[in-house]
């Protein structure tokens, strides 16, 4: 997933010279999911 997002970030840097805020929002959503999943992934079954 992060590979696709990284490609979109590269598109922004190539075309606009900076990352569009919408991609930062998407990155924030993904990070939030990671933070929420972290403790569950580490918990015993």
């Amino acid at each position: 997933m992060m590979v696709f997002l990284a490609v979109a970030v590269w598109f922004d840097i190539r075309g606009r010279g900076r990352v569009h805020p919408a991609l930062l929002v998407v990155g924030l959503v993904y990070s939030m999911l990671q933070i929420l999943l972290g403790p569950i992934a580490g918990s015993p079954r």
């Binding site: 997933m1 696709f4 998407v26 999911l33 569950i40 580490g42």
Partner: protein
């Protein structure tokens, strides 16, 4: 025209549209390869799956196909078609939310959770993933007048629903208990 769109030239914007089409095709290929590998690996027999699983697969694949078509339509400049197809996309997103949650819960009920996931993790990964997909699609529809925001939020939403296909490409059982939560979202 918003502040972000003013930063790029028309030719750069045209390049960006084509680049997003390329990314859409890469996502579609990933989904086809992921589920294709899975079918080949486990001697796929469609008759063993309940009807709602087939419907779930059909609706989610339709989203990926529609995403590619929408990118093509934008590249060829048929914005009116894009808007008309967008209505179908919104309806598909609602169906995906319902079917995604329903299929996840029923998978738990019939014990069809992959062995490398705990039931709690499976529920949270799939449940939160589809809810966040719907939130990103809803946000993209709300800002549809701002094409720069719209295309990026739609991309973010579509990437989220590719994680089951990516999970079928990665050797998940070999990744151990710690990376499961991480790799399914990467």
């Amino acid at each position: 025209m918003d502040n972000e769109t003013r930063h790029i030239t028309p030719s750069a914007e045209a390049w960006e549209r084509k680049a997003y089409l390329g990314l859409a095709i890469a996502i579609a290929v990933t989904v086809i390869v992921g589920f294709g590998l899975n079918a080949g690996r486990y001697n796929f027999n469609p008759s063993v799956f309940p009807a709602h699983v087939h419907l779930h697969g059909l609706v989610f694949m339709s989203w990926v196909a529609l995403y590619v078509v929408q990118c093509v339509v934008v590249v060829v400049g048929r914005v009116a078609w894009h808007r008309r197809l967008g209505v179908a996309g919104a309806a598909l997103a609602v169906m995906m939310l319902g079917l995604g949650l329903y299929t996840t819960v029923l998978c738990l009920q019939r014990g069809a959770v992959p062995p490398f996931f705990s039931p709690a993790l499976f529920l949270v990964i799939d449940g939160l993933g589809i809810i966040m997909f719907f939130v990103l699609v809803a946000a993209a529809i709300l800002v549809r007048q701002r094409s720069d925001w719209h295309k990026r939020l739609m991309l973010g939403a579509t990437i989220l629903v590719t994680s089951p296909a990516i999970g079928r490409i990665l050797p998940m059982p070999l990744l151990g208990p710690w990376p499961v939560g991480r790799f399914t979202l990467q």
